[in-house]
């Protein structure tokens, strides 16, 4: 699974991209976040308050209950501020 971080989530995690193999029980975005928080203090800090975090699965917005699978691209980022 390819996991991407943008903006301040990227700076807190300390990297923009990870290739990961989550355990079998990680079936949706929420479970993925819980698992990611255990990977490092930076991950824990990035996901400490999820109110300011958005997720995308395969480049489309996804809710916390959206399914994730081994070959998905999952991204986390704050609310967008372009334009």
């Amino acid at each position: 699974m390819k996991v991407l971080y943008f903006a301040w989530l990227r700076t807190k995690v300390g990297r923009g991209e990870e290739d990961l193999v989550p355990p079998a029980g990680v079936g949706d975005v929420a479970a993925l976040v819980t698992w990611l928080k255990g990977r490092s203090a930076g991950h824990a800090e990035a996901f400490a308050d999820l109110r300011g975090v958005r997720a995308a699965v395969n480049q489309d917005y996804a809710g916390w209950d959206h399914a994730v699978a081994a070959d998905d691209e999952v991204a986390f980022f704050p609310p967008v501020t372009g334009g």
Binding site: F6, A7, A56, Q59, P78, P79, V80, T81, G82, G83
Partner: protein, 154 residues
């Protein structure tokens, strides 16, 4: 048409090719966003924005912008649509984004142009990092932008 690029764009040149030769066009509405040199959110000595860096999500950006264009074309009778958005480091005064919509009459052109920028601001994966004398800070999303985008719901 959508384009995501680091370089500047020339509004006049873009418009010269926009809906070119289409005799059904009676109205063209264009919006251009630029980097202000002062962000009201940052009062005080560090308030002057000297530059910003726009980060984006390559791939998803193009997909989302194409979806926004398609939705605009579905909602209004448009003869042409253009979205150009820059990323990377931009200085005060630099152009950031341009959106344009051409139609037979102005109501559709104005509404589509507003829709394009409203949805872009809330759905296209760009993030602004402002560089000020006090240091760098990620720009917070504005509640007002959500409210403006919500006009087009339902």
């Amino acid at each position: 048409m959508i384009r995501v690029q680091t370089g500047d764009f020339d509004v006049g040149a873009e418009l010269a090719g926009f809906a070119a030769g289409n005799g059904r066009v009676g109205a063209t509405c264009v919006f251009v966003g630029t980097v202000r040199d002062y962000a009201a959110e940052h009062a005080g000595p560090g308030g002057w924005v000297t530059a910003m860096t726009l980060e984006h999500y390559p791939g998803m950006t193009e997909t989302r912008l194409a979806a926004i264009e398609a939705e605009a074309r579905r909602r209004w009778p448009l003869e042409d649509v253009l979205i150009v958005h820059r990323y990377g480091r931009l200085e005060a005064g630099d152009r950031i984004v341009m959106v344009a919509a051409a139609s037979g009459h102005r109501e559709a052109a104005f509404q589509a142009c507003q829709f394009l920028i409203d949805w872009l601001k809330t759905k296209a994966p760009f993030w602004k990092l402002e560089h000020t004398a006090d240091g760098d800070s990620w720009v917070d999303a504005r509640d007002l932008d959500d409210a403006l985008a919500a006009r087009w719901d339902g």
